[in-house]
């Protein structure tokens, strides 16, 4: 198993979303997470603010950009990871940088109540970002069952 599937049990999985910018990405995924009870109402503003101050875009070896937005545990009800793939890349800023921009195609929203205990999942996720083949599969995948097949590999 690539990542423990319990983090995807609520199936917040959105494929090939046609969105213009970061704000639209956060609006869409936050609404989905909130409707499934995973995050609190405060989540959307919290995650947007945090991304402004501490960007989470990562330019991978493969040339693909991913982002791992996350925010403080107080806005979270339940440990989950939300996924969104984007039809056209959306600009995020590179983690740790004030100026670099990363065109992002894959977004993994980390909803964590106590991240210290989720080290394994976070490590597995980072590990997977280094695997070009898996990244390609995430880009191509267009439904829940295919997505879960990748996760369960």
């Amino acid at each position: 198993m690539l990542i423990d599937e319990k983090f995807f049990s609520k199936r917040v999985l959105l494929f090939n979303e046609d969105l213009a910018n970061r704000t639209e990405v956060f609006e869409k995924i936050s609404a989905e997470l909130q409707s499934k009870g995973i995050v609190k109402e405060s989540f959307k503003d919290a995650i947007e603010n945090r991304e402004k101050n501490y960007p989470t875009g990562l330019a991978l070896n493969s040339g693909i950009g991913v982002a791992i937005p996350h925010t403080d545990p107080e806005h979270i009800n339940e440990n989950q990871v939300g996924f969104m793939s984007l039809k056209n890349p959306v600009k995020f800023r590179q983690m740790g940088s004030e100026t670099e921009v990363v065109p992002v195609k894959l977004v993994f929203v980390l909803c964590l109540k106590e991240a210290h205990k989720q080290l394994t999942m976070l490590q597995e996720l980072m590990e997977l970002f280094g695997d070009n083949e898996i990244i390609k599969e995430f880009l191509l995948c267009s439904n829940e069952s295919d997505f879960m097949k990748i996760i369960k590999k």
């Binding site: 945090r50 101050n53 501490y54 960007p55 989470t56 990562l58 330019a59 991978l60 070896n61 791992i68 996350h70 925010t71 403080d72 545990p73 590179q94 983690m95 740790g96 940088s97 004030e98 980390l110 964590l112 106590e114 991240a115 210290h116 989720q118 080290l119 976070l122 490590q123 980072m126 970002f129 280094g130």
Partner: protein
């Protein structure tokens, strides 16, 4: 004993991953007895930065402390990780 601080925006997610990588690396290098590890968020450490010998961050830090901080993002993606470890090692041995 050197004090090594790993920090990120929230002090929970990416610093946890970097912390794990640093721990493993220290053990592999046989340096784990020489370093004490701390983890926190940038906002809380800005004024205490001098309490630590080595500081690794995955997020932007205020320009006032920039020179004292090693960029830890390569430890997340693995790209350029060796260089970061080399920098940390230099500080441990300094």
């Amino acid at each position: 004993m050197k004090k090594l601080m790993v920090m990120c925006g929230s002090g929970v997610a990416t610093s946890t991953v970097v912390m794990g990588k640093v721990k493993t690396w220290l053990a592999d290098e046989g340096l784990d007895s020489k370093v004490k590890l701390y983890q926190s968020k940038v906002a809380e450490e800005v004024n205490h930065i001098d309490d630590y010998d080595i500081v690794v961050s995955t997020t932007i830090v205020p320009s006032s402390i920039k020179d004292k901080v090693i960029n830890g993002v390569p430890l997340l993606t693995g790209m350029g990780a060796d260089q970061v470890f080399a920098e940390i090692k230099k500080e441990i041995e300094a």
